[in-house]
């Protein structure tokens, strides 16, 4: 196919941005859009000069829709992904893939059965300092990763009101936001085996946790610690990675990355000096390449499911006040 004609389910800011990028990459047209909110729907239809569909089913079954972007709130991913799988349309699903592992399993099974691609937007690993950190490890400069700590703190007005403030739609802070950090920690450390979490809702802006500490154990024997907050006017992002032969620290979305082997000098790179494709363009290119040329996708439903499993473990751990094995949530 020359162009991929995409249908967009859920036309909020994020989904519109993804669709805009697909068009800009020169490989896609937006054929149809759908959203229960009339304002978002009208904005998307006029921006992309696309038809509107009354439902996800209607959109997915249009003959002029080749592939589907699911950009609805996480709580609606299941129904929308199932609709696309039933119509055998390849899918780009925003993260988190679902709000429970059980939902993820249903989506993955439906896509496998239909033989369609399920791509999950775990884009954080592609951001400059995050991607760079993986390469430093791959190149062997600091040995094997053994301990990772990530601090992500901020105050997003969007999380203190609207759909993002409701667990039913957003899933919770660990799902709506930190499924990124959990995926990044897995990207660096490998498969997780056990999770212990303590959470709080300090400012009560949302009906779920606005603060959490999550401790993780990984199959490689290493450990991880995520500190997240959505009630911090003074924001902070910090990654500290301890390896067998050195360490690495970086500032997440800005600032610099530094690493140093025990027996060597420190190397520092500024995010501003790193050139390359925008991370969102890179993930969308990978999705499009996988659809059109059968290329191996950068991440799949499995990656999305594992990140959700880590969050689900944390929620269960906080509820039951005990460490939870990842195998417990994967077994359900």
């Amino acid at each position: 196919m020359d162009y991929v004609n995409i249908g967009v389910i859920g036309c909020g800011n994020m989904a519109r941005d993804l669709a805009r990028r697909c068009v800009k990459l020169g490989r896609c047209r937006v054929a149809a859009v759908t959203d229960p909110d009339p304002e978002s729907l009208a904005a998307a239809a006029s921006e992309f000069m696309a038809d509107t569909a009354a439902s996800a089913e209607e959109l997915c079954n249009r003959p002029d829709v080749d592939a589907v972007i699911v950009g609805s709130p996480p709580g609606a991913h299941l129904d929308n992904v199932l609709a696309a799988a039933a119509a055998r349309r390849p899918i780009f699903c925003e993260k988190p893939l679902g709000v429970t592992v059980a939902e993820c399993d249903q989506m993955i099974a439906a896509c496998d059965e239909a033989g369609v691609l399920l791509f999950v937007g775990q884009v954080l690993r592609l951001f400059p300092l995050f991607a760079y950190s993986r390469s430093v490890i791959n190149e062997g400069h600091i040995g094997e990763p053994r301990a990772i700590s990530v601090i992500r703190a901020g105050y997003g007005q969007a999380f203190h009101s609207g759909w993002r403030a409701k667990r039913k739609l957003a899933g919770g802070l660990l799902l709506e936001v930190n499924v990124h950090e959990l995926d990044y920690m897995r990207f660096i450390m490998g498969e997780p085996v056990r999770v212990y979490a303590l959470m709080d809702n300090i400012m009560r802006g949302m009906d779920y946790e606005d603060q959490a500490y999550v401790l993780l154990e990984f199959e490689n024997g290493g450990t991880g610690c995520l500190h997240t907050s959505m009630s911090s006017p003074i924001g902070e992002y910090r990654v500290h990675l301890q390896s067998t032969k050195g360490n690495l620290v970086h500032g997440g979305f800005s600032g610099s990355l530094r690493y140093q082997p025990v027996d060597g000098q420190v190397t520092e790179v500024l995010q501003a000096d790193i050139s390359g494709l925008n991370p969102y363009d890179r993930e969308l290119s990978s999705w499009i390449e996988a659809i059109t040329n059968d290329a191996k996708p950068l991440f799949t439903g499995h990656d999305g499911r594992m990140a959700v499993a880590m969050a689900e473990c944390a929620y269960r751990s906080a509820d039951e006040k005990r460490p939870v094995a990842v195998s417990e949530v994967l077994a359900t």
Binding site: A131, V269, I274
Partner: protein
Amino acid sequence: MSVRIGIMSMAHMHAYSYAGAINEIAEAELVGIADHDLARARESAAQFSTQAFASYEDLLKADIQAVVIGSENVRHRELCEMAAAAGKHILCEKPLATTVADAEAMIAACRYAGVQLMTAFPCRFSPAMARLKATVDSGQAGAILAIRGTNRGRCPFGWFVQKELSGGGAVIDHTVHVTDLMRWITGQEVAEVYAETSNRMFGQDFEDIGFLTMAFDKGVFATLDSSWSRPKSFPTWGDVTMNVTCERGVLTLDMFSQNLVVYSDRTGGVSWVPWGSNIDLLMLQSFVAAVRDGTPVPITGEDGLRAVEVALAAYRSAESGKVVAVR
């Protein structure tokens, strides 16, 4: 499955050797050649039984996993950043870049894109060099105290003597090879450089003579003659030699001494024709294996950067007449 490779620019003569090497490797395929000189792309594509692409962008859109960059030195960064953004692994001709900033940007772009960047230092693949390294590593000669190296050659002229394309003359062209070998066998970094240069071979506005004295960070010191001082009538392009003084012995290397001496009335002179190992082929084989297996390339972008830093320090020293710190 074979590793599919494209070549970005045939400006450097080594690119021809690399193209030939790719064609000799069973598990590699030369998918095509792109060049800002379209005629050169077409001619070299015909020579190596592959296709010419109309642009670098077209080549990068083709089904390839890796590229070899053989352009003029100053273009390395641009081509490297393009290839990295397209997700291709890269083997880049030396010197990696003509400025530290360019080399650092290339390394960063490759790390961000998650692709490997290898610097083309074929001398590390010389079996004689490997034997020298193994002898040093075995400890039988004791620790290295000092090294005398040479990398002298005939002047290549062309863009090599146009600073706006090459970044310099003999020093940037020839310092990097033996500096890399010295770093490799000592495990030390060059800390300080004193250099003198001149243009008295050809009397033009590029340096054709360069002598470096280097102090390494853990005690070794070395000298290096990196001149374009072989006359046109010299029987081969040049040399790579090392004399490594150790605590309990001296090792000497003459990397290109495996040759026949040919007297030819047709070419009108004496030439040394190599019969020994093809180090370019060995280097390409190692690059192909790293791309195929996803293992780290043996010579990185940082290795390329460290060697460039020494060459640039040599220019600063020659300019100021002083010993200069490399970093």
